[in-house]
């Protein structure tokens, strides 16, 4: 491990050699330390602030609380109840779970066909779907608003589910198809020779072998939807249905500089992505890299 990460040069064997090497590297260590501090300070500051009493926040900087810290959970009480972040947390889940599962299943079915069934214009259709991947959501807003209103589904979650599903599908198809075609051909041919139907091959052979790819996409889409503000601003109009991103944005307008509420609210919004990140870092990074075309 250390030899691989060290990467540069053979490690000196003598004590003085190591010392020289360490001193020569000091600017690198200092530079990286500075970078790490710059990257940590903003988030840590907000985290500490979310646990400080309102009066303290406005009297002294959060950095003074390293020496003089009074801890409270009162901000979280306030933001969960009075500012309705509690119900917004539930709303975010209500929006995110179907908006992840729908494109995952629909996309996986399409990806299977694009990899293992032959049909006319297959590659043309696939290419068209890939091309839709980078279409900005703005290109559909006005017609979708009208469509959802005309269909009478503008008042609940259905509109945002559909919009997220449609805009998440191209990536799902692209990503999963690229994984499915790497599965061993012999396996699928053998299943077919044994008389297995396409549905059966898809469910019993392809899906179980593709868990890493399915997980990568699911995590990417989950975070994408969880973190989305634009679609929520547009398609969720009923204040009781606001997800957390929209709720915080609204709080930002009404409560301005009430940092005890904004800080704890922002932390509630961040907590799920942070858990996902630390628990599933490998899939997370894979999904993100694979999604980098979006």
């Amino acid at each position: 491990m250390s030899a691989a990460t060290e990467a540069v040069g053979r490690p000196p064997t003598t004590v003085s050699g190591r010392l020289v090497r360490f001193i020569a590297r000091t600017p690198v260590h200092l530079g990286l330390l500075a970078i790490a501090v710059i990257w940590l300070v903003p988030t840590v500051g907000l985290a500490i602030t979310s646990f400080r009493p309102r009066d303290d926040i406005h009297a002294t900087g959060w950095w003074t609380s390293f020496t003089d810290f009074s801890f409270t959970l009162h901000n979280y009480d306030l933001v969960l109840e009075n500012a309705k972040m509690g119900s917004s947390f539930v709303n975010s889940i209500m929006i995110t779970v179907p908006s992840t599962l729908l494109p995952l299943t629909i996309g996986a079915a399409a990806a299977y066909a694009f990899s293992w069934i032959r049909f006319p214009f297959r590659d043309t259709i696939f290419l068209m779907i890939v091309a839709l991947m980078v279409v900005p959501i703005q290109m559909a807003l006005v017609p979708l608003l009208r469509l959802f209103r005309d269909l009478g589904i503008a008042d609940w979650y259905v509109g945002i589910w559909l919009a997220h599903t449609a805009f998440g599908l191209p990536l799902a198809v692209f990503l999963l198809r690229n994984f499915f075609i790497t599965l061993p051909r012999d396996l699928i041919e053998a299943a077919r020779v044994d008389g297995a139907s396409n549905v059966r091959i898809f469910l019993r052979v392809v899906l179980p072998l593709s868990v890493p790819a399915l997980a990568s996409y699911a995590i990417f889409q989950f975070l994408w939807v969880w973190n989305d503000l634009l679609m929520a601003l547009i398609f969720i109009t009923d204040s009781d249905l606001f997800p957390m991103t929209k709720r915080i944005t609204e709080m930002q307008g009404t409560y301005g500089a009430e940092y005890h509420l904004l800080a704890s609210g922002a932390f509630l919004l961040m907590i799920v992505p942070l858990i996902v990140f630390f628990a599933l870092q490998r899939y997370f990074v894979q999904g993100l890299l694979a999604g980098s075309v979006k």
């Binding site: 988030t43 091309a131 980078v134 290109m139 006005v142 500089a257 800080a263 992505p273 997370f284 075309v293």
Partner: protein, 321 residues
């Protein structure tokens, strides 16, 4: 029986052909893709066409087209609309110019910092923890990033850490970073570079690890120093990953919305407006569906070259990510 391999980009490697048994089930393939195609058709492709149609009209507040105006919306965007593009002053200003500023500064700094950290981190033992620290902001909602930095930029030096450093460290007067037309763009760009550097770093770091150790060892044996190794070996081999990152960051810039909407709402005045925030305002504040659609079409036109590049890359790579 045709033995021709599926053409081009997305087909399997030429010369390999599907056995007969795969071919009789074409109709089943269509069934499998049907839900995806229907959804994409109804909710992406069809609205996309309609947005183009809308961009040639004016709408009422119920988004019905009330009259056709030809290219007037586009003319207005590029000539009389000072929010979108103000050419009276030099240098020009407006949302479009701000997007350009973003494209240059945000892209350059995210890429350069990501590269720097990837290269330096590979030389230390604490690489993985350092990379995790840099990467975490990628997981967070842009909304939360905006709140985090709103707090950093707070003018009161007893609240905002940026002004605490300016005040305590250099005895300077507080700067209202987000409230001043001449600082707001750079302040938000810096905040978003902070959020995006992790992406560039992860991609470039992975690419660096893919360079065979023997090449670098050989160069070192020949007397190359660290700088030469970076400049002559690593940097050239990173050109494709860097292009990939640049394209991703640029697409991000064109779609940029959340962080500006939360931090400044395009203000003060219109000084930090970008295409997407203006489009939103035209639609929801001014009720101008046609005009907003014209802005959306401009966004699409900006994205298309990047889309073509992406697709041609899939072609050349025969798509296995």
């Amino acid at each position: 029986m045709s033995s021709q391999a599926a053409p081009g980009p997305v087909g399997r490697p030429r010369g390999r052909r599907l056995p007969e048994i795969f071919k009789r089930q074409g109709w089943q393939g269509l069934l499998f893709i049907l839900p995806a195609v229907l959804l994409l058709g109804a909710l992406v492709a069809y609205p996309l066409v309609w947005t183009i149609v809308y961009s040639f009209g004016d709408t009422n507040s119920r988004l019905d087209i009330v009259n056709w105006v030809g290219f007037d919306n586009y003319k207005r965007l590029f000539t009389t609309d000072k929010v979108f593009l103000n050419r009276d002053d030099f240098p020009p200003e407006g949302a479009l110019v701000n997007n350009l500023k973003w494209a240059v500064l945000y892209t350059t700094f995210s890429l350069a910092l990501g590269l720097l950290i990837a290269v330096l981190a590979a030389r230390v033992r604490y690489e993985s923890i350092l990379k995790a620290i840099i990467f975490v902001p990628m997981a967070i909602a842009a909304t939360a990033v905006a709140i985090i930095w709103k707090f950093v930029y707070e003018p009161d030096p007893d609240i905002g850490v940026a002004n605490a450093i300016l005040h305590g460290g250099f005895n300077l007067d507080p700067i209202v970073f987000i409230g001043r037309a001449d600082t707001v763009n750079y302040a938000i760009i810096f905040a978003y570079v902070w959020a995006s550097t992790g992406f560039a770093m992860v991609v470039l770091s992975a690419a660096l690890k893919g360079i065979p150790e023997e090449i670098i060892e050989a160069a070192r044996t020949d007397g190359a120093n660290e700088w030469h190794i970076f400049r002559r070996i690593q940097f050239p081999l990173l050109s494709l990953p860097m292009a990939v990152v640049t394209v991703w960051l640029t697409i991000n810039v064109i779609k940029l919305f959340d962080v500006i909407y939360v931090l400044s709402r395009g203000g003060p005045g219109n000084s930090s407006e970008v295409i997407a925030t203006q489009m939103f305002d035209e639609l929801f504040q001014n009720g101008e569906g046609g005009y907003a659609s014209a802005i959306a079409v401009v966004m699409l036109l900006l994205v298309i070259p990047l889309m073509i590049w992406n697709i041609s890359r899939f072609r050349s790579e025969r798509v296995v990510t």
